[in-house]
Symmetry: C2
Subunit: 223 residues, 2 copies
């Protein structure tokens, strides 16, 4: 395990950050670039895009201020790569979860996707915070690229709800509204997790998935 060359990096690794940004295929480039990415995620999560200076990031990665610009065109470029990769992996996480239950019916599919996404947000809450809450700092072109991925995640959840309604196993008066509510619940985990002695990512995932089923299930007050 690489020795941290600057304060803050060890915490980041202990945070599950290194795991998140491991890259077997070296698509992230040389070690310095990966160190910068990890440092940037940690700093952006703690203080936001505008609250983080490129010097902060370089320091945490053990480089001089100019070192950032060897690997990234600008601060926004660095932020964009984090945001794009984070969204790609979140989408992949959701799609994989749904596929893993096969043709199991809407209820199990809904449970799977909410559980997977909630667990993801909790486990990778540092990355998730960066990825969810500073999107307006992206350039318009970059923002649109990320928004396209977000729409795919929304469509995945909405599709499952529609399926369930069509099959008669869900009772959902407003599919778009419930989609938004479910994704809100999941997204917001990144804001507060972890909170004093609360549950593991997996426990939270199960809890939220159960709540999602309660929301969608036919219920007694129907007449």
């Amino acid at each position: 395990m690489a020795k941290a060359t600057a304060a803050g990096l060890d915490e980041a690794q202990a945070n599950g950050l290194a795991e998140m940004w491991e890259d077997g295929e070296d698509r992230l480039g040389p070690a310095s670039a990966r160190r910068l990415l990890v440092a940037a995620v940690d700093a952006f999560a703690a203080r936001g895009y505008h609250g983080t200076s490129t010097r902060d990031i370089a320091d945490r990665a053990g480089l001089s201020p100019a070192g950032v610009y060897v690997h990234f065109a600008s601060k926004e470029d660095l932020f964009f790569r984090i945001t794009l990769l984070g969204h790609e992996r979140t989408l992949h996480n959701a799609v994989t979860a749904v596929q893993s239950v096969g043709e199991a019916g809407p209820a199990r599919r809904l449970h799977a996707v909410i559980e997977a996404q909630t667990t993801w947000q909790a486990r990778h809450h540092t990355t998730a915070r960066v990825v969810e809450y500073d999107l307006p700092c992206l350039s318009p072109e970059h923002y649109e690229q990320v928004a396209a991925i977000r729409r795919k995640i929304t469509a995945l959840v909405r599709g499952i709800l529609n399926e369930g309604v069509r099959a008669g196993v869900f009772d959902v008066p407003d599919v778009d509204g419930m989609t938004l509510a479910l994704l809100s619940m999941v997204t917001d985990v990144a804001r507060w997790y972890p909170s004093n002695g609360r549950q593991s990512p997996e426990q939270l995932g199960t809890l939220y998935a159960d709540l999602a089923l309660r929301m969608a299930a036919p219920h007694s007050s129907d007449s």
Copy 2:
């Protein structure tokens, strides 16, 4: 109606911002101070605390850069007053909603508080965004003052859930977990509202309150 002296102020007023920061008792001080507050809420909501300069705020309020410091001790002080007042009014909104249904039982109380808070977040989404998402920018002392109000809101919701469980009208395996999930759903409205052609604050409030009842109600998969 006061004529706007700088760009941005009219939008802020159209936004329901002026209404939010109206103050019959003049506790907010002279007109310039109120104009600064409204301008600051608008700017902080759009670009975050660190992304907003005191010059931006002064410009929007039609004052010189130094004008800010006549009415506020610092940028953080200005931010704190917004955050504190916003939280006080949100708490008041929640308490009033619960009181307004009298001794109506847990289900109607839960419905009332979720409906009121959701409607509030949507109607005052500009203020809510500032108040919900930049709390770490407060000084530790100021943060603690605001956190105390947040704990009261959490306790209000948790209390209603506990009441319902005790009375046997709710089935909630994890009261703390559901409290968090409900507040997440409500809080997150500030992040995305308004979204293309979606419902009015009141419609959203009713939808979310109904979803809350579905989550808490006894359900058929109990054995």
